[in-house]
Amino acid sequence: MKWHLSIALLAASCVLVAGNETLESEFRTNGTLMHGVVERARQSLQEFSAVVYDGRKEIAYAIVITDDGYLVSKWSELKSAKELKVRIDDQLYEEVKLVSGDTQWDVCLLKISATGLKPVVFAENSKADEGTWVIANGATSRSERRPMIGIISAPSREIPAEGGAVLGIEIIEQKGAIIAGEVPEISGAFKAGIRKDDKILKLNDTALKKRDDLVEFMKDRKIGEKIEVTYDRKGKQQKVTVELQGRADTFGKEASRNDQMSGDVSNRRSGFPRVLQHDVQGSSKTVGGPLVDLDGKCVGMNIARANRAESFAIPVEELREISQRLADQARSK
């Protein structure tokens, strides 16, 4: 008896050591079994998050901020959409107007014609410390939003613009003057009307003679700051206002090894005044929607999938202010 038992146990222990044990996918952190545990949060996503489409393609999520059809989302993911549509709960809205936006935060305001929507329920504050559970939109079906869970990963903080904030002009120094080289169409400078070969004379009240003057002026500037640019085109002086953008967002950037590891990340992922960092495993298409706590209250808005291990959200304090401001401006027009 003892013989048999001990041999059986020995065999069992061998299997344990040599075997390759695997946890079935439904039990994993984002497995289907976890969905039920965060049902309250999932309900919130169902009610006040919206799926944003370009035609039939899902491109982002949004947050319903008023019962009469104002939504906010991540601006840069929507800018080039040709046929914006949104779905709230199981209802599809085919007429969507991109009303306005905030460059600094990369947030835009959308309007659909609807009444009786359930608007976002904001958490009192975003004082969620590291380790706090957070839930965001994962995959979606026509009728149902699915949750993805994670935790707050780091203290809330500023994410400075990668490579700094820029006007968006390639600088050529020529005989004591600054001449515009290439001006990418997506740059703030191009939008303000500055073109190749314009001579840049002044930034606000600072006269430019050499490259260093400009470098000094641009030091520590932030995305979204507005700069008055005086330039000369064929002997005629003009003054325009240029909104600063991130260098990587304007001129592009070579993918690093970490980027290659990260898959589908957001194009604009830096230059935010303050973010919450979390580890919900999204993609560039899962941003724009709410980040909620276990009680289903909105603690922020997912604003960037930064890399394989890091996602950023605008904290609720700032989100509330931005949403209010954009909606008020839209109503007063």
Binding site: N20, N258, S262, A309
Partner: protein, 326 residues
């Protein structure tokens, strides 16, 4: 015979049923059942996080950076072999509070990605407990720390949560997402005990591989003594003959080996060897002529240390040199 088998049997039973008082009870459920279970996981993690974070360091060497974790008050660090890349390398560790300290890599296991390093600067350092009894199991909730993408003071080491989704002998897999810079960083159970070190990732977000702590325990003493174990792939054994000292010498008429030239910024110059010094011994071996020295250097590689006994102005002195890469 009978007695031995019975002992083995008893041993297995105690192992199988050993109670771990610190074990998070949710770990024995297949999945959390309700919000209370979720809160229990959250509060366990928060309770362990502060200590774990203080002991998680960023390791900078050469062009790159990785992570590591301090496991003793005098500054012993566990990390990955592909982070240290060799034995006896100089490393700068950045502590949780931003303080920089000097380290040196100890031994490593190049086929399983284990490595040790030691803080050289004297001090008392924050450290974590190692799960020496190897108590973690498949499905356990875990958290990972690391300096993703390099050191960022305003962020610190980012924390990620997950479960152990695959357990094999020399690798465990979790769904805590890792990225470059996290390599060598710690994986903890919910009581804050170190159970693994980050090693590599797969294409899928759920493929995050760690070296289990048992692999470190297996090679502990050898690594502590600075041995290079295994044949790779996580670190390459330095090639003999690649060490660079940076002196010119000649055999004197008096039968002495005399230094005639010191290379600029060479290891010899850094260590303080001067023109005119007479080399008496290296690593305890008598050096009578250039041949003796060349024979000895042929067996040495970059980062090897030489203890050189010199004669300068009639006085004997000992100088330690770390060889550079030829």
């Amino acid at each position: 015979m009978n007695v031995r088998l019975v002992l083995l049997f008893l041993g297995l039973v105690t192992m199988g049923f050993s109670q771990d008082p610190k074990r998070l009870s949710i770990n024995d459920k297949k999945a959390p059942a309700n919000t209370e279970d979720m809160r229990a996981i959250e509060s366990a993690l928060k309770g362990s996080l502060a200590t774990a974070r203080k002991a998680t360091v960023c390791l900078e060497l050469g062009q790159g950076s990785g992570s590591g974790v301090i496991i003793s008050a005098d500054g012993l660090i566990l990390t990955a072999a592909h982070v240290t890349g060799g034995v006896g390398k100089e490393i700068t560790a950045i502590l949780g509070d931003g303080r920089k300290v000097k380290c040196e890599s100890l031994g490593l296991s190049s086929d399983t990605d284990c490595a040790m390093a030691k803080i050289i600067d004297k001090g008392t350092y924050p450290y974590v407990e190692v799960d020496r009894s190897d108590l973690s199991k498949l499905g356990d909730w875990v958290f990972s720390l690391g300096h993703s993408g390099g050191y960022d003071k305003s962020r610190g080491a980012g924390v990620r949560i997950g479960r152990l989704v695959k357990v094999a002998d020399s690798t465990v897999q979790s769904d805590c997402t890792l990225i470059g810079g996290d390599s060598g960083g710690p994986l903890f159970d919910m009581s804050g005990r170190l159970i693994g070190i980050h090693s590599r990732v797969g294409a899928n977000l759920q493929q995050n591989m760690h070296v289990p702590i048992r692999e470190f325990l297996r090679h502990w003493d050898d690594m502590l003594q600075g041995q290079f174990l295994g044949e790779g792939p996580f670190a390459k054994k330095p090639k003999k003959g690649t060490g660079f000292l940076g002196i010119g010498s000649e055999d004197g008429a008096d039968g002495k080996l005399r230094v005639t030239k010191i290379g600029r910024e060479s290891p010899a110059e850094t260590a303080g060897i001067k023109e005119g010094d007479v080399i008496l011994k290296i690593d305890g071996k008598d050096m009578n002529n250039k041949d003796d020295m060349q024979k000895l250097l042929k067996e040495k590689a970059a980062d090897d240390k030489l203890v050189i006994m010199l004669l300068r102005d009639g006085k004997e002195m000992e100088i330690t040199v770390r060889l550079a890469e030829r």
